[in-house]
Symmetry: C3
Subunit: 353 residues, 3 copies
């Protein structure tokens, strides 16, 4: 993948073993490739809010010696016209055919955050905004969560699972409480005693009070399907089926307890109805079933499973306090690995410039 | 101009031939003067929104090795008192006599964006905010579009015209569509076969749905009047006369077709009524005449003229899709040159520190 | 203090003579310790607005070679849940037990701005937000004005007083008007002819139209009590008593004229009622007595006293135009020293990493 110009899907990163090895190399020396970014500029374009992505991406780019320009585009204040032939006398003051090439003029690489609107499935799943940047900016473009994917998160999740692969069935070493001051300081993890079997990883839906995009579960499924030695089970209420292109060969199990049995990793996430079964339900909340909240009883069904979530998380909707604060909660190391996954992606793109 | 402390008017940059040569030198090696900015800080102060200026100025300053601090002053939230003797118990929490010197404390150079209010011509044309920064900051100050001028844009326009001077009367080489991915990647342009005559450059008013400042046409006129081997014609509906100090010796032609005949470059821009003919009209929209929109018929009157606009542009009000997407549209290379014009200005100011 | 992990109170900086000597050393060569910050990242987290602190802290961190990430947390838009057991289905989308460790993941040092709410004295004086960052971020944390303290300001004030100690009873040399372009360019000040007596420093309350926190007077009192060769007098209307832990051994004098007599430095500031005498008054405005506004008559009672204020200042409420613009007004040099005080603090924290 010397020629990486986009980072959207798992294929873009090439062989995952190599990507994981690079992640560990960079985690051991975050500034090793700092020469690559000299006099290169990353432009981060946010159409939606961000905490983890904003911070970790800036950090990764700076680790690599880049300059960073952050552009917050308030979606309300700056609407881009996308059609030709329109007399632009309304609320859209610029056409994307000018705006995007201009942004490309002032940088060497672009990161884009643009959430799903959750009203028009076709528009969202066509990744319209992301593809406009790819087509018109003239620059390599990576997704910082877009309408249907969040690959930097999924890659960080994979790195985290690999780091804890050697501790399957045990309580995570040296972690008494994930929220302690030390919780975020996970040392480079020795990859020892990897079990000679596939990991059982479960992606579970959980209830939420607001309609959320499918980007995180989509990418998580895609990456787990591609991951070495992982069996993915997806569990959710009926009607919440993810898009088949992301589900791939994963097992879909509507009985959450069955899904959890023997699981090594539980990855909880809410998503709104993907509209696969019933297109009219797209983006809607069609279940608030609180029996899906991950609590200690749920975790007791697993193989001393590790708990994961991409954050931010609504406690006691998605997961109880006890579970997220338990030694087996990996939410903070997982967030910390966002810096690492992003570093690998930017490094690859810099090498391909 | 070793002693450049302000950048507002064309005189501030000194001989234009020298400035243009420096622009080409920097375009060939954007990082050549990086040592100049070491341990120097640019403060960019925005009283109004910005896309191109924000990005290109940051890029230019980083090219020159500077640190950059961006300060967004929401004009509504942070009002500065300007009068003495006022008991400040209203909505203004700080006096400019404190705020501006303090901002000067933490930087070596200041860029200011502050648009015209378009209600009080005298206040706007006195460049009150800009001059307060010049007087009280203790730092060199450049305009990032202020009430009546936008010199970084005009300088970028001049650089662009010089780059395409060798292609007068022809279709711009290697550019099939200005909005293509390659449209913004104009190579350093060889300045060959310059015609042995003056260029005919036309600044044309075009209709718009909102009242816009006169800063861009003012500066464009000022710079074209000063440019080597350029004849400037200004065309607009009667009543839209620009301030005489910017019009200078340019020809004003109310018949748009006559103005366009034989033109080498068409520079389209809307501006609100400058209030020169009728002071009561200042800042108002007194024409929305759509016959002024630049379309292919308009361009057919020219000498295969190149189309320019500072962006953002409202399509099919200012210019049709066909014209702005044509090979002769220079809007993207023009925007790209904002990085170059700004680099020259900052370099000069750094040399004068 | 090789081990500085927090910067909140005066004790955190260790012996003040040493800190002041370091301040002068850094003022003479702001980039001397630039190697310390290489590949280190400061995260500045703002729950409230900032001008001076935002700019001076960025400048200080860049002087020291650090990367800087600025995070504006709109207190309204991003509310953090702090309780356990709550079903988070309301307006709080993240729990501090996740948010804070995550922020710590992406940086090496944190600065926090979080003002007092002024409704719950106990909550404010417990420094709840600041202490959450200290407890859960895993990083060294310094206060960029928090609920009850503003130590970067107080340290800058002390540096300024030391710089002008040699000029007690005289008009400040070479300063005709603090708001002139040169007003902010105070050269490294020779510390000569220090009088062989203690300085009389007066902290005076002054009226204001809005309820302000006590952070600035609290820290100023704390630092002056600890300062070498300073006698602190605090003067304010009855009922405005500051918290005893900050007042310490300072003299409290309700007669403003008596307090000002023979003063070498007048430090004016408004604060809302601290609720010490009457808890129900906490955070309220219980006096708007305009006779406390510092004018030329007030200053005539002093020993040709220097005038100080942390800014922003409401003129003609806190202080008249004549006084703040007089040669003896130190408000601009004081603001300039914010860069210096912050540089010393960040340098110490970098050394302790």
């Amino acid at each position: 993948m010397k020629n990486m110009r986009t980072f959207i899907n798992v294929e873009d990163i090439g062989p995952l073993e190599k990507a994981l090895a690079e992640a560990q190399e960079i985690k051991n020396d975050r500034f090793k490739y700092q020469h690559l970014g000299k006099n290169k500029t990353l432009m981060m374009i946010f159409f939606n809010n961000s905490l983890r992505t904003r911070l970790s991406t800036q950090k990764a780019a700076m680790n690599l010696g880049m300059n960073v320009i952050v552009l917050d585009v308030n979606a309300g204040a700056w609407k881009l016209e996308t059609e030709r032939g329109v007399i632009m006398d309304g609320d859209k003051s610029e056409h994307l055919l000018e705006a995007i090439p201009v942004m490309g003029c002032y940088c060497d690489m672009i990161g884009v955050r643009s959430f799903a609107g959750l009203t028009d499935r076709e528009y969202d799943y066509a990744e319209t905004v992301l593809n406009q940047f790819i087509k018109y900016s003239g620059r390599p473009v990576f997704a910082m969560e877009t309408a249907t994917v969040h690959p930097l998160q999924a890659f960080a999740d994979l790195i985290t699972i690999e780091e804890y692969r050697g501790y399957v069935g045990t309580v995570a070493r040296g972690r008494e409480n994930s929220a302690s001051a030390e919780g975020n300081l996970v040392p480079p993890y020795p990859r020892t005693s990897v079990p000679p079997r596939k990991l059982k990883v479960v992606l579970t839906w959980a209830p939420h009070c607001r309609a959320l995009p499918q980007a995180v579960p989509n990418s998580f499924a895609q990456w787990m399907n591609a991951a070495p030695d992982v069996d993915l089970v997806i569990t959710h209420p009926e009607g919440y089926e993810l898009d088949p292109k992301f589900v791939g060969n994963a097992v879909v199990e509507y009985d959450q307890k069955k899904a959890f049995e023997g699981a090594d990793f539980i990855y909880a996430k809410n998503w709104s109805n993907p509209g696969v079964t019933n297109p009219a339900d797209y983006g809607k909340i069609t279940s608030k079933d609180m029996s899906w909240t991950v609590d200690t009883e749920h975790m007791s069904w697993t193989n001393n499973g590790k708990f994961m979530h991409c954050l931010p998380v609504r406690r006691n909707l998605i997961v109880t306090d006890d579970v997220i604060e338990s030694p087996n909660s990996l939410v903070i190391p997982e967030a910390a690995n966002r810096e690492i996954s992003c570093s690998v992606v930017i490094k690859r793109m810099l090498e391909a410039l």
